[in-house]
């Protein structure tokens, strides 16, 4: 898809995110806005998926696992615009009976979601298992994941990282949302993680880096990552982003990790985001 077309979608997705969390006065706008460009590129250009024929097995198509489940607003908006369910359903986010649970869930059979996430650190293991199943099934599709940078503080991530490299899980492309922020502050203040790229290299992964807000660069890097699959190594992309990207007063601060804007702040935010596809 053309970069301009993708950017049209990202503007609408960001509007959806702001409106969803404001409506229920809960949810996580910061990381959602920061990962909008990536998830839009993934679902509208990078991955081979057929939303109309969603199955739990996902045989013959690429899979995506959102490991940092708290940024569910961006996932739901992208899934809706991609056709997994009606865009109007975004209005049910976090409300009683909704399929759009606060954190992604399969309990109400929302198309596009294959596992619950929210408790951090579990998605890479799930993806490794799904990638192993694809190999057993002679399915040469790719499994994608997204993780928060703070999430890498969970030990299970590194268990999975060791397994994937040691067992040549090379149909797997993980991405790290490297915005340097977590709930309590800057990651270097909360728990410094050193050189992330070198850590992944030391664990035996192919490592790419990209600017998570430059659509041209995202598409080029993802294409390169795809080319690197099938060569005996898992691939990870350390993606630099800005938490709250697209809304000036939310950008670059951890304060909007899990706090919704007021109605006045929502109006300011929406004035900075063009309504390109129509609000839900």
């Amino acid at each position: 898809m053309e970069v301009k077309e993708l950017e049209k979608i990202t503007s609408q997705v960001r509007r959806d995110i702001v409106r969803m969390v404001t409506a229920v006065q809960s949810g996580h706008p910061g990381g959602s806005l920061g990962c909008t460009d990536f998830l839009t590129a993934l679902y509208f250009d990078v991955m081979n998926v057929d939303p109309a024929k969603f199955t739990m097995d996902g045989q013959g198509e690429d899979l995506f696992f959102l490991s940092n489940g708290h940024i569910s607003p961006v996932l739901y908006s992208v899934l809706a615009h991609r056709g997994y369910f009606e865009v109007s359903e975004l209005g049910t986010f976090r409300k009683l009976g909704t399929r759009l649970q606060g954190h992604p869930s399969v309990s109400k059979s929302l198309p596009g979601v294959r596992i619950a996430s929210g408790s951090l650190g579990q998605g890479l293991s799930v993806a490794v298992g799904a990638a192993a199943a694809k190999k057993l099934n002679n399915d040469d599709s790719i499994v994608y994941t997204l993780h928060g940078d703070g999430e890498l503080q969970e030990g299970q991530i590194w268990e999975a990282a060791m397994y994937a490299a040691g067992n040549k899980v090379d149909n797997l492309i993980a991405t790290i949302d490297y915005n340097h922020k977590q709930i309590d502050g800057d990651i270097d203040e909360v728990l410094p993680m050193g050189d992330l790229s070198k850590k992944w290299q030391a664990f035996g992964w192919e490592v790419l880096e990209m600017d998570g807000h430059n659509m041209t660069e995202i598409l080029a890097t993802m294409a390169k990552a795809k080319e690197m699959t099938g060569n005996g190594k898992p691939v990870v992309i350390v993606m630099t982003t800005i938490m709250g990207k697209g809304v000036d007063f939310m950008m670059g601060t951890h304060k909007w990790h899990g706090s919704p804007p007021s109605n006045e702040q929502e109006a300011i935010a929406l004035s900075q985001l063009e309504e390109t596809l129509g609000d839900y």
Binding site: M56, D57, G58, Q59, L63, F65, S105, V106, S107, R114, I115, A116, S117, G118, S119, G121, Q122, G123, L124, S125, V126, A127, V128, G129, A130, A131, A132, A133, K134, L136, N137, D139, G155, Q156, E159, A160, M162, Y163, G166, N167
Partner: protein, 317 residues
Amino acid sequence: MKDFEIQNHKDTRSGFGAGLSELGKTNENVVALCADLTGSLKMDAFRDENPDRFFQVGIAEANMIGMAAGLTIGGKIPFTGTFANFSTGRVYDQIRQSVAYSNKNVKICASHAGLTLGEDGATHQILEDIGLMKMLPNMTVISPCDYNETKAATIAIAEHDGPVYLRFGRPKVPNFTDPNKKFEIGKADVLREGKDVTIIATGHLVWKAIEASEVLLANGINPEIINIHTIKPLDEKAVLESVNKTKCVVTAEEHMMNGGLGDSIAQLLIRKMPTPLEMVAVDDSFGESGTGEELLSKYNINTANIVEAVERVISRK
């Protein structure tokens, strides 16, 4: 007692290994994962017969549970294997979110449960695992009593769509159930009909209940013995039918009183048929090193304790 002829003495974990090996031959979707305890879990046969379907994950149980959940997404039926402690307590949140809440078709197979693993001591002797697992929505909890039943249960859970916790143990114990009996999940097994008391046991304590029944019969007490191999879902009908007849109950298990089989039976009876009940279970204590038999006696869950509990509960009728 001729009704319960001991065919041989075998460990229940070997029943699991035999069942898994058979599944390897009959169900191509069955895969197995192990966290560096392949020999202890008796998974070597499956590994050797199905190298492509066996995943050695190393000492990384959290990753093992997550991978198992992921494998189901490709239509596989994963069996994870490690000690009961590392199968449950160590990975509770992974099981809760990625398996139980996500309702994934993972079979969590756990050996060395309870006190009878013996000398390794309390770090490994989990007595809380049944409680942990039965509290999870969507989870089926199975605790077979001997080699034959563990083998049959292993084969049966592959046909059940949903998360299962399968608990078994380390020591060689009497193998007495019918090797040709089909395992029915959720169906209690009345081993002996009686009228004076219902003894409801699970796992290794089923044989202890049979031993106790010999003593009781000699003392003129006629016990009914029920093997509850499926703790969740509980066969409420079978329990209530028996208790309605005997009017008192003793439960017996190699588990903590809190959260165990006795706790499930008590919940049922207090709601539907209040009845005197005694629990033979570990009373809010960790274990320690020793032989399995020594530990069962020290922690008051051996044959003699079942006999005493029966005498107590009958006096309360």
